[in-house]
């Protein structure tokens, strides 16, 4: 099954309960909403892959574009929203302080995400990822849903608070040519 897939970071600042007068994540929010709107377009049934906190973010983003998450557990779906992000230890001011392994880990993770290659995603050291406070629990399910037909589009990539965020979408109509 080749379906639309998207990745957003599980940033609590995106939630209405934590709204500020000036949105500290305005650009990220815009990218997330664009991605989720694309994902849930035309009434798609969206499977959310996330930890409990990430699920809150996904549920909110879907509701903000007028969509709803499928309940997990075998229900049919035709799009997948994965909630995850890179390390939260990328700088002295980062939530988890600086861990010098964080930049390399995120670089590898970013390359794997852009490639959409299940094998590359499978090679990631998830134990290290957890040590680096990355949110990587959904990557295995992400890999399961990607194929060589998908074309990745990076809609947002930054680490404004020492946490690495990506907003990525994988379009099944990308018809990426097979590697030589």
């Amino acid at each position: 099954m080749t379906i639309r897939v998207a990745l957003v970071p599980g940033v609590p600042a995106l939630l209405p309960a934590y709204a500020s007068r000036v949105d500290p994540v305005a650009d990220l929010r815009a990218a997330c909403l664009d991605a989720v709107r694309w994902l849930a377009g035309a009434g798609a049934r969206v499977l959310v892959v996330a930890d409990p906190q990430g699920r809150r973010v996904a549920t909110y983003l879907l509701s903000a574009v007028g969509a709803a998450a499928r309940e997990p557990g075998g229900a049919a779906y035709d799009a997948v929203l994965v909630v995850g992000n890179g390390s939260a230890r990328r700088s002295e001011k980062a939530p988890g302080h600086l861990d010098e392994r964080a930049l390399d880990f995120d670089e590898t993770l970013g390359a794997a995400l852009r490639s959409g290659d299940a094998a590359e995603l499978g090679k990631l050291d998830l134990v290290l990822g957890v040590e680096l406070l990355a949110s990587v629990t959904g990557l295995a399910v992400l890999a399961e849903h990607l194929s060589t037909r998908h074309r990745a589009e990076v809609r947002y990539e930054d680490d404004p608070f020492g946490v690495k965020y990506w907003v990525l979408t994988w379009d099944p109509e990308g018809h990426r040519p097979p590697p030589p």
């Binding site: 500020s20 608070f161 020492g162």
Partner: protein
Amino acid sequence: MTLELGRQSFADEATLMMAIVNRTSDSFYDRGATWAEDKALDRVAEVIEQGAEIVDIGGIKAAPGAEVDAVEEIRRVGSFVARVRSAYPDLVISVDTWRAEVAHAVCAEGADLLNDAWGGADPALVDVAAQHGAAIVCTHTGGVQVRTRPHRIEYDDVVAAAITDTVGYAERAVTAGVDRRAVVIDPAHDFGKNTFHSLELTRRLGEMVATGWPVLVSLSNKDFVGETLDLPVGERLTGTLAATAVCALAGARIFRVHEVVETRQVVDMVASIAGRRPPARAIRGLA
């Protein structure tokens, strides 16, 4: 209820800074610093820069002192209001006066709000407000004569008295034709009150807020702060801000102040603690 102050409307949760601008030579706090008209205009520019939504222009000090008749009061504030209006077309301009004659003159020059610190001493003031579409502040003075200090005034219940008088005044204004959304009540700390009265009004301000009328408080550097902390004028800011915080938590809407920046910070902080105002920009623990 939306608050309508002349040319501006303010939503329910909005808190407003009313900056004091004296056109007097003898007011207790600034001692004539803005007696010269150009100095007063500089003060207006300064408080707008600091974020004040309202300027409150007064031509007579509240305490007893040299007689200032209506002609002199109009001379002090009338043309000045016109200058401020010309320079700041959208600013809410309040004039601190109890005289209908003065009110009529300043409304003709563009004043939006009549701050009657003397509790309706001139019964025709509400008619002037109605005629000009101006807003009005209804204060409690316990029935004392204008420009007098309290002397051995007692109340069975000062808060009940303040509510009865200000709400009565507010209803009288509405009956006279003032827009209900343009009426504000003020317990008037220190006016017809000893320090214990003003402290009790502060402590029980929520009862005034519960009337539903928007509440203005004028606490800035007043004697009840000075007597409570045994501090002279000039050293009362911290005490003023403590009283400000208590009133803000109780739900006061308008704060008549000398120090705009400090008061705004206190009022915003309290509003956020009370859950009425989101933080400016919160990311700690939420990235």
